[in-house]
């Protein structure tokens, strides 16, 4: 059960950071290709979703562990996820496209 919560927390921080990255013009282009431009209100929406996912990740961490430990797990999961997102953007940008498939 705790492992499941931790796994979900890690997935949430990965998704959240990916949305935060995609709210930036340059990474949006990497994932969508070409000239598909990102409207400011959509960028704002992505940023809000990213923040929500990261908060969700923190809540899941707190459910899984004693608060003192949960904070460490959360901070480190952000670090791991950031590298994950950066590597995905560098080598397999299209692999993130499903996260924003619904944005027209």
């Amino acid at each position: 059960m705790r492992s499941l919560l931790r796994a979900c927390a890690l997935l949430c921080s990965l998704g959240g950071l990916a949305w935060l990255a995609l709210a930036m013009e340059v990474h949006w282009h990497q994932v969508r290709g070409g000239r598909a431009s990102l409207a400011p209100h959509k960028a704002r929406l992505l940023r809000v979703m990213g923040a929500l996912a990261l908060s969700g990740s923190l809540v899941l961490c707190l459910r899984a562990d004693h608060a003192s430990m949960a904070v460490l797990v959360w901070v480190m999961s952000l670090a791991v996820s950031s590298v994950g997102v950066a590597f995905a953007l560098a080598w397999r940008p299209r692999s993130l496209s499903w996260l924003v498939g619904w944005v027209r």
Binding site: S3, R6, L17, A21, M24, V26, H27, D65, H66, S68, M69, L72, V73, V75, M76, S77, L78, A79, V80, S82, V83, V85, A86, F87, L89, A90, W91
Partner: protein, 559 residues
């Protein structure tokens, strides 16, 4: 700022990368011990019975011969045949199958130090009380871990000071790095591997430096606070009388005898005290096992027993101590929850020393440590890439030497570590001083990798990376799987078996070795491709690189 970052980073970077790498290994020091000592490959054990098992072993413990020798010199010649025991201690965690036992013996008649003492220690198999050989080197906790905290430089504790200085430089490098980088958020996820070496190296340097910033910052900081007592030993120098008075006062407030009474008295059942401590912890809503057991003033009427709870479910190391009167087993003092300041200190110490049970967080720590290594290594490469052309033209060998040291401290350090693991598996069991031979193979091979890096770095124009990088990557790619195979051949514990049994200490290290081997092989292939590309149209590429480097140079000029 840029000057500070470049030069402090370069000089102390060589120390820092060692500290980061061996710190990452120390996260799994107990597991590396299991790999290196096959007879200790069994499940972690709870604290055994003190009365039946530990007490008889403690009574037979002797001081370390080397320490006795040194003590004899301090008191000017003669010591009694039997030194009086001062205290006993045992410490175990949820990861320890074997149990380490410690004793301190009083050294009488030292005019300069009335509290002079020597130590003794043994390691036992807690299932049957059998002693483990003294000459068995615990590669993880007795070699890699001391490397992390003091570089094995024991002379005048210099190693601790060098590591502390490096930790300070780390804090300075982090802050100055942020100032230089500036576009922290805009380029947070930026990594451009297809751009030229200087650009992609700087991207990776920034990425690893920024994302793991909280980890690097807190670990450098807590590393310093843990050893604050070594760096600022005020309680043993300037403030010694005050510190002594505070210790006496604290003992008195808790009802703990500060000095022995000088009257012999037997010890009551410690097992009964353990039961009582566990009952009291459970009553406080934090049931747990004993992590640390300490008997002070052994055999004296004033003896007392302190029991600390193992902190496997908290960040804080051990805690909630309960003190018992040794002769009666009566509770002398149950420590209340610690104050806010003490809790913060305990949290920071526990955060770094991590004795908790949380495998995911452990791997996250390894990740944090290795991102530190990548950050430092890319810093070296960037330094060399930026200067090699000018240095080659000016006929200076600076960049070449930096590169040789970088090869030695990145791939060379890996090769030396692998050589030590291999030596651990191939040296005959009955070899005298087997542990020393393992250490010698580590240092010897590391020296060889430096000789290799220095010899291969002597290129006339420095147009490409030193071939030593690729050759040492190949060595890593060969040695890492060799260690896995040797573990299989010498112990029969191959991966399929350890994985099927779920014996992670050995399976985990084997898998990590295979991963390291494949990454090194991949790096060697890519470096080879790079060398070929440069070798073919060297001249035209030089121009292209110079043109492409223009944009990065402008930014790099600041760094």
């Amino acid at each position: 700022m840029a000057w500070l970052h470049t030069w402090f980073g370069l000089v102390l970077g060589y120390v820092l990368i060692v500290v980061f790498f061996f710190g990452s290994l120390s996260v799994f020091d107990r597991e590396i011990d299991r790999w290196a000592l096959p007879e200790t490959r069994f499940a972690p054990q709870p604290m055994p019975s003190f009365d039946r098992m530990l007490s008889p072993i403690f009574k037979q413990m002797k001081p370390e011969p080397a320490e006795l020798e040194a003590a004899r010199a301090r008191v000017g010649g003669s010591l009694p045949a039997e030194l009086a025991v001062m205290n006993w201690a045992v410490y175990t965690t949820h990861r320890d199958p074997v149990l380490a036992m410690y004793a301190e013996f009083a050294v009488p008649n030292n005019p300069n130090d009335p509290d002079d003492h020597v130590h003794g220690h043994v390691t036992i198999d807690p299932r049957n009380g059998r002693l483990l050989g003294d000459d068995q080197l615990k590669v993880g906790s007795e070699f890699f871990y001391p490397m992390h905290i003091s570089l094995h430089v024991t002379w005048k504790d210099l190693g601790y000071w060098i590591v502390g200085l490096a930790a300070l430089a780390m804090l300075a490098a982090l802050v100055s790095g942020l100032v230089i980088h500036r576009r922290i958020f805009r380029e947070f996820f930026t990594l451009r591997p297809r751009k030229h070496v200087q650009r992609s190296t700087l991207d990776l340097h920034n990425l690893t430096g920024v994302v793991a910033l909280p980890f690097h910052f807190f670990f450098a900081l807590t590393g310093l606070t843990i050893f604050a007592g070594i760096y600022l030993p005020v309680s043993e120098t300037m403030l010694k009388p005050q510190a002594q008075a505070a210790a006496v006062h604290e003992a008195k407030a808790k009802g703990l005898p500060f000095k022995p009474a000088g009257v012999a008295a037997p010890l009551a059942s410690v097992d009964a005290m353990v039961l009582e401590a566990k009952r009291r912890w459970a009553a406080r809503g934090m049931a747990g096992e004993v992590g640390y057991l300490y008997v002070n003033h052994v055999g004296d009427r004033n003896s007392y027993v302190s029991l600390y709870r193992a902190g496997s479910d908290r960040v804080t190391l051990v805690g909630q101590p309960i003190h018992f009167e040794g002769t009666t087993g009566r509770v002398l003092y149950e420590e209340p929850p610690s104050s806010a300041v003490a809790s913060v200190n305990d949290f920071l110490t526990g955060l770094h020393l991590q004795h908790f049970e949380h495998w995911l967080l452990r791997w996250f720590y390894v990740f944090g440590g290795l991102t530190g290594c990548v950050c430092i290594a890319t810093g070296f490469i960037f330094f060399v890439e930026k200067r090699k052309r000018q240095h080659a033209q000016a006929g200076v060998s600076g960049a070449r030497w930096v590169d040789a040291f970088a090869v030695t401290s990145v791939t060379g350090m890996l090769i030396a570590t692998l050589a030590m693991l291999i030596a651990n598996r191939v040296l005959p069991i009955e070899l005298a001083q087997r542990g020393d031979w393992q250490k010698a193979s580590f240092w010897g091979v590391w020296l060889l990798t430096f000789a290799h890096a220095a010899a291969r770095g002597a290129m006339p124009r420095m147009t490409r990376l030193s071939p030593a990088w690729r050759e040492q990557c190949l060595a890593v790619a060969a040695l890492a799987p060799a260690a896995v195979i040797l573990n299989w051949v010498t112990t029969g514990d191959h991966l399929l078996k350890t994985l099927a049994e779920g014996y992670w200490p050995v399976a985990g290290l084997d898998l990590a070795l295979l991963a390291v081997g494949s990454i090194a092989a991949g790096a060697a292939v890519r470096l080879r491709r790079g060398e070929r590309a440069v070798a073919a149209p060297a001249a035209s590429l030089d121009e292209a690189a110079a043109a492409g480097a223009g944009t990065a140079d402008r930014e790099a000029a600041r760094a």
